[in-house]
């Protein structure tokens, strides 16, 4: 019953409370709290070393928070192993893409569906990903490592999508891409949300991220600096000065 409540559009999906994450003695995230609701695109922006990627890695279970709680669909997930978190419905397209370079595009996509057993569902989701990124269809039998950076990024996003996540984590999807490809990737992210997947997006390209996001959190050296509606933050003089090159 509680699932029906939380699955409703606009209901709370992910909430992080007072999360502290350390690399050894160095605090990377200090007391971060944030929420993501069903159907939203939420973006984390901030400069290098602000703790954005650390936050995503902690949600994915690759790092353990020293303090604080992470709750996903009403259940705590801090300390849960990485592969189990995928099973709970959180898939990540990691920073630096990390596709499997010596496997073909198709094999990469199949690995994205590693935990799924429904053959028909996987086939139709693969169809959907290939419609979303026609370039991948063209290169379906090619070894992923021989593709261009943009294509590899499409594959990383597609591979995460094929796990049919409830929450999709995207870490710097525009990194290292030519401007025209950045637009394409962001348009596709907006489409993915329209098709019903909730997205938490980490970006250095704040302008592009704020354009498609509903809400945004601005991080600075591991702490929350500002948060609010993306459209408001895009006009905020402080944000404009610091991150939008105004």
């Amino acid at each position: 019953m509680s699932d029906v409540m939380t699955e409703a559009a606009g209901g709370l999906m992910l909430s992080i409370e007072d999360m502290h994450v350390y690399y050894g003695n160095i605090a990377a995230v200090k007391g971060l709290s944030l929420t993501v609701n069903h159907g939203e695109i939420v973006t984390l922006i901030g400069s290098n070393g602000a703790g954005k990627s650390t936050t995503l890695r902690t949600i994915s279970g690759l790092l353990k928070p020293k303090k604080g709680s992470i709750t996903f669909l009403g259940r705590p997930i801090n300390g849960v192993a990485g592969h189990e978190i995928v099973g709970r419905g959180i898939c990540q397209s990691p920073e630096g893409r990390r596709i499997f370079p010596r496997m073909t595009v198709e094999e990469n996509l199949d690995l994205g569906a590693f935990l799924r057993k429904d053959k028909d569902g996987i086939a139709s989701d693969k169809e959907r990903v290939l419609t979303l990124f026609p370039r991948l269809q063209e290169r379906i039998a090619q070894k992923a490592g021989t593709m261009s950076g943009g294509e590899q990024q499409m594959l990383a996003v597609g591979r995460a999508l094929i796990g049919r996540p409830k929450l999709l984590l995207l870490d710097e999807p525009s990194m290292g891409l030519a401007p025209v490809l950045v637009d394409l990737i962001f348009d596709t992210i907006a489409t993915i949300r329209e098709q019903g997947t909730t997205i938490l997006l980490v970006e250095q390209n704040a302008l592009a991220a704020l354009r498609i996001a509903d809400r945004a959190y601005v991080l600075e050296s591991g702490s929350l600096k500002l948060s609010g509606k993306a459209s408001d933050l895009a006009k905020d003089p402080e944000v404009v000065n610091a991150y939008l090159g105004g």
């Binding site: 690759l62 192993a81 990485g82 592969h83 499997f100 010596r102 496997m103 590693f114 935990l115 025209v180």
Partner: protein, 407 residues
Amino acid sequence: MATAELVGPPETREHGRLTHNARWAIGFGTAAVLIFVTYHWVLPSLNANINTFVNSWLPLSVVDECMVWMICALGLNIVVGFAGLLDLGYVAFWAIGGYTAGWLISGQFYNLKIDIFGSPAAGTPGIHINFWLVLVAAAILTALMGILIGAPTLRLKSDYLALVTLGFGEIIPQFFKNGDHLGTLSGSGGFDFTHGERGITPVDPITIGPWKLGPFDLDWQFAVFAAIAAFVIFVCLRLRVGRLGRAWLAIREDELAASMMGVPLMRTKLAAYAVGAVAGGLGGVAFAEHVGGVLPDSFDFSISITLLAMVVLGGMGNVWGVMIGALVLSWINANGLKQVGSTFNSTFGTSWDFPSYNYLMFGLILVLMMLFRREGLLPESRTKLLLREPSRTDVESVGADLEGESA
């Protein structure tokens, strides 16, 4: 996880033609039958000169030994080639398999008298279990030991994993060497578990149905070993294309990314370790039968290294390549170098001791391989890609995007 889930549907034909694997499998089967027929029927009917020639260059006992090496190399290939985990102590599993045979088909435990379809000489005490059942027992025991050794070890990253496995490869044969006075500190009395440096001899012969193999039935021993090898090859190939094989591959490529896809790292690595260990155990039982017993000194570090050299020479990750690598190196080791040496010496009137240079030869072969054919004799297509056509780096792939636009 049921095995049935791990293997995909059989795919022996593609567009009406036999697949690569099916062709190799037929090749292996044909070669095995030909070898058996040759040594069993053809050779004895030929003249003495031909017999002497064949028996000096490729005696049947060497062929049998090569099969044992092949079985073990295929097992190591699962760990190193499929899952990308460097294991320098694989000899431990070979030894455990050998000692399983020693315990279960000999007079070692002389105050027991157990005979389960065994083949003991009349009236011998000890445990005498049927050879085929011992294979199963060794498989189970080595799988358990693989998990036991792997569970604490596999949390380590590559270089440390190599070091710790090296340690286990030393410890386990040492245990067998010293396990003859368990439970005492004095070096005498206590429980004689492994019979110390004297090892456990003899083990009972292999049985095929009601029929016992005699010491000169090397051709039938070959048939049995070839059947074990065929089983191991089959398991390797099926696991390779299944879900577990894909998970191994993903871990080998990028462990972190694999875990982000939901691959359970520990469980998947342990599976590689356990399955690889089973092949080592089967090879160990076969080896014990081949030499008629187990001696702790025959399980030293050089075996782990030689097996690794076979995997690298043949082509890491490619079942058929590893098979070829194992056959080539084990032949050189067992007999080839000796024959080349004696031919060389008699031709040129020298008296060099060729076999004592075998590790020099191995080193030379590996150096030459690294210089001219790093991917191995029969490379796996993926390895070839990595070594011959490097992936684009980030910088290069960004460049490629820009190129695409200006064009």
